[in-house]
Amino acid sequence: MKLTNIFSLNLKKLKTRPGKAMFLIIPVTILITLSILISSQVENIRAALSGTVFDTIADQYTLLTVKTEEEDFNPSSMFNNQSSFEQNKFSSTDIETVKSIDGVKNASLQSTLPLQNIKSSDLFTDKTISLSNISTLDSDSASLYTTDNFTYTEGEPIPIILSANSFSYTYEDWSAGDTVTIEMGTPGARTEGEEPQRNRMTIEKAEAIEYSKDDLIGKTFTLSFGGLEDIQDYTTSMDRETRVTTITKLSDDDYNTKIDEREEAISEYWDYEKISTPSTYTFVVVGILEDESSAISYIPTDFSNKVVSDLISNEMNARVDEEIPTDVLNTDFLGLTYDGDELSSGSTSGMMSQIGGRLQGQMQGQMQEQMGRPSGEQEEIEIDLSFSAITIPGLVIDIDEDNNVVGTLDDPDVYSTANKYADSMSIILTSITERTEVIKALNKAGYAYQDLGDLDVFENLESTLETVSNIFLVSFIVLVAAIVVLTMGKLISESTKEIGIFRAIGMRKEDILTMFVSQSLLYVIIGYVAGVAFGILLNFVSSTIVYTWFNSFVDDTISQTFNVVSAVDSSIFRDINWFSVLTYSILLFIISLIVSIIPSLSASKISPVEAIKNE
């Protein structure tokens, strides 16, 4: 029998008895509707995650900051072996090594600007802040913190990313009078580097400044580099017996005398006016870092070369005499030091070279004096750190391998050509997926990195989505098979008379088989078409609900882990996952075809005698 004739018989059956067909059509409609809804929304949530949340983390997770292993603080190495610090630091060689690792897009040193006394008085009203820790950052790495341009262009405000931790100002608290005594802790408890005890020895207090990120971003302000340091307006002395520290405020006369003494000392070699005037630049805030563990602010690498060069030039211009006696360098006058490799400052490792010379001699002398005396005869000693040496901004002292002063180094470009060392390097990955491999490679190359990145929240959601998809897929297959077998089985069992009659008037077994298989496919197609229509509609309608849920999920979980979470557009949840629709469509038809053969085969075996059976 012709297929078209069989098909027209099926259509007539459907037309006169649509009720029976509905037992198959409606479940198929529901399944297809759900498959479109579920597979599309699963994919939409994934897209929303990767398009928004994952982008957020991707930025943060494609950046690795590798830090040098901190050495145990060893006072003896402080004075004797300066180079041991540098051995543990990263240099351009390390950058080359890291850059050669697959999956590393870029690596750069977060080298600290070798400058001190960097201040701004106009970022906050009436409060001067000083930026103690400025590092350089190339524009690639800066893209992790700011979307704004991070390059230095002459004549335009210089972009800067500020650490919120630097928003504090210090002041001297003389509320208890001009003389303050502070009792020390128990003997022996004092160890180097213990912050609280040192704080108790000063009358300097610090207070954090409240700020609004939104107000600060885009704000222009000025930063001054260089200039002379403030002269301490008090003296500190300690009674070793009672362990009581006495801080005494200097009288105005004494204080002015100190300033005058300093001016006199400087004027011997430099124009006092010129050397004491800081270089001031206009900046624009392009980012605020709110990281509890870091106080580093960032400026463009190009600008760091310029500012150091400007200060060196200023110092050279300010010279009264071109020659400064070698013996006063690093004793009476401090500055940057250049050992033929690195330009160092008073901060971090450079501090040692600054303290060196005369001060070192002074301390060692006193220590030896102390040790020579019997105990109990200890006197009150006074170490005045303020007088001994004057820091000249922009002064570069040339030293040899053994830290002996060679002379001044009069080269404004020394910083840009010098090797730079850093305690940390920023590594940008080509993709978040490379993270694990790169970390492995880094550790193998000797750069210890413990991966603390926690992607659990997303992995959990991802695996939930995966589970939902898989459960639905399996349910879909099982349900389609079951529904087709059951409904067709029932339909056929109710059609024995019909089959008998067809057989009696000459239909072959294969015609009966074809008739019922095509009948079930016809119903499945109708259910499918309706399901696609309903699915698209329901997907559209439910997009708002899914969007609301997604936002609350982000609020509840991701926002708590990450400060910045990109917003997601609700239209993303209206998308249909056509690939899945196609997959489910193919599955539906293949399963229906295969499974409908089973009851249809039994239909074909129904004897024509059934037609004659009298009820």
């Binding site: 029998m1 012709k2 007539k12 019909e498 008037i505 077994k509 005698v609």
Partner: protein, 231 residues
């Protein structure tokens, strides 16, 4: 005269649980082309079984049935199906029309199975409906027709592919007198046509008497084989 149907030692046994039942026992007869035959017998006598076996609707246990000189015993499903479609017409008791097809469509089905072109089939269906006086109800579904009307459609359908033999299994069993009369008359008319034989099963002796030959069956065995008239 050539035989359209030859039934040879036809036996049908089947198992009803553990008991073997002989529905038909060694029945033999032959029917010449264009003749008519009534098979008479009470219910359970085996007359329906005889018709099922003769029409190739069921498998025989022993013996053979030869239609148009062809043994149906060894035919496969395809062959016997095609044979039923072309050479035989069937009229059963109520309700044997496809309920989802209109009167005309029911008549059309055997022709569609055979592969008669649509237009030709449609034309022939109209003729057949006119012949059974049902052209006015051509587009009605069986449920919209009376029992007599339905059976007239069944008669038209049995004639669709111009068969040589019509098997009718108590076609009047559920009809009133008037309708029964009409159906029997139709079958009589058909049997008068050249080359068309009619085999009808009935338990009504009055109807059986109107046929030129009556075979009476009891307990699966031929009791009587009477020729009333020669056609």
């Amino acid at each position: 005269m050539q035989n359209i149907l030859e039934v040879k030692n036809l036996t049908k046994r089947y198992k009803d649980g553990d008991i073997e039942v002989t529905a038909l026992n060694n029945v033999s007869f032959s029917l010449s082309v264009g003749s008519d035959l009534a098979i008479l017998g009470p219910s359970g006598s085996g007359k329906t079984t005889l018709l099922q076996l003769a029409g190739g609707l069921d498998a025989m246990t022993e013996g053979d049935v030869i239609i148009k000189g062809q043994s149906i015993k060894d035919m496969n499903d395809r062959e016997i199906s095609d044979f039923r479609n072309r050479a035989m017409g069937f009229i059963f008791q109520m309700i044997n029309l496809q309920p989802f097809l209109t009167a005309k469509e029911n008549v059309l089905v055997p022709m569609l199975i055979l592969g008669v072109p649509k237009e030709e089939a449609s034309e022939r269906a109209d003729q057949l409906l006119t012949r059974v006086d049902m052209s006015h109800r051509a587009n009605h579904l069986p449920s919209q027709l009376s029992g007599g009307e339905q059976q007239r459609i069944a008669v038209a359908r049995s004639l669709a592919n111009d068969p040589q033999i019509i098997f009718a299994d108590e076609p009047t069993g559920k009809l009133d007198k008037k309708n029964s009369e009409m159906i029997v008359e139709m079958l009589e008319n058909i049997s008068r046509e050249k080359d068309m034989s009619v085999v009808m099963i009935t338990h009504d002796e009055n109807i059986a008497k109107r046929f030129s030959r009556v075979i009476k069956i009891e307990n699966g065995v031929v009791k009587k084989d009477v020729n009333f008239k020669i056609k």
